[in-house]
Amino acid sequence: MDMILAAGTPAPDFSLHVTPDQKLSLKELRGKPVILAFYPADWSPVCGDQMALYNEVLSEFHKFGAELLGISVDGVWCHDAFAKDRHLHFPLMADFEPKGAVAKAYGAYRAQEGFCERALFVIDKKGVIAWSYCSPVAVNPGADGILEALENLPK
C-alpha cells in the first residue's frame, strides 16, 4: 500500500468523466476548495453510507464554497445508476481508463484488490493539498475531518 499524498503537496491534476458525455478536470475548480473522496466502489454497503452522509452534509461543505467530488474506479454508467438511486447531488468521477490512474497519482490505489482506498483530500483554492486522510477500507470516515480541514483553510 502506498502512502497517500500529504498536506503541502500540489494536487495532481486530472480530467475524468463525470457523466457519459462530460469530463471535469481538477484545475477547472481552481479558486475554490475541493474535497476529493476516493472510495472503493459504488453499491458496497459502507461507501453507500459514506456517500449518503456527504450528500446530507453537502450544504455544510458549500458554506465554505467547497466542491465535493467522489471518485472510484466504477464506470460512468455505474456511477450514473448509483447517483440516481441514492439521489446524490454531487459528481462522481470515473477513474476507469486507465483504471485507477488518478487514485495511483494520489497514492490511494489498492493494486491487489483493484480499487481505491477510502481516502479523503481537501485541496485549497490554489490547488495544494491542505489535508488528507486514509481510512481503513471498512470504516466510514465521516465528515468531521473534512469540515475541520475546511475550517482551517486560510481565509
Binding site: L53, E56, V57, E60, H87, N140, G142, D144, L147
Partner: protein, 175 residues
Amino acid sequence: MSLRVPVGEQDHVQGSADASCTLLEYGDYECPHCGRAHPIVKRVQKHFGKKLRFVFRNFPLSEMHPHAESAAETAEFAGAHGKFWEMHDALFENQEQLGGALYLKLAQEFALPPQELRAAVENREYLARVKSDFTGGVRSGVNGTPTFFINGKRHDASFEYDDLVEAIQAALASA
C-alpha cells in the same frame, strides 16, 4: 471521537442530570437500524434505572429516507408541547407508516393540536432545530445511524443489548 455539543437545555432528556452515565443517540425515525435499537435502548434504560440518563438527537438522512425529516420535525413539535417522548416512541413503533396521516393520528392520541402540527410540518418550523442536531452530530463524528455516545465518547461497538450494557458498566465504573 467525542461529542462536540454538550448535553444542554435544548436536548430531549430522560432521567436525571445527576445520573452518573449519559447515553446519547443520534437517530433517524425512518432508519431500520434505529428502529431495531429502540427497544434495546428501553431495556438498557430499565436495566440501569436512575444511574443512566438518555438523550436523543435527530440525524435524519433525508435523501435516503423521505419521511425522516418530517418525522423528526413532528417529534420536535410534540416536544414543544411537552410530548416529545410519547411521539418519539410512537414514531419508532410505527416506523413503517411514517407520513402525514400517522402524524395527525398520533397528534390526536397525544392531545396535540392537529392543525398546528400540520402547519408546523408544512412550514418547516422545526427544520432549523433538526438541522442543528444534525450538524452537531456530523462534527462529533456521527457517520450513520444510530450512533451512540456514552459519557460523550462515541460507542463504536455494536448496539446489541450486551454490548451497550457492558460499555455503560465500564463508564459507570470509571465515573
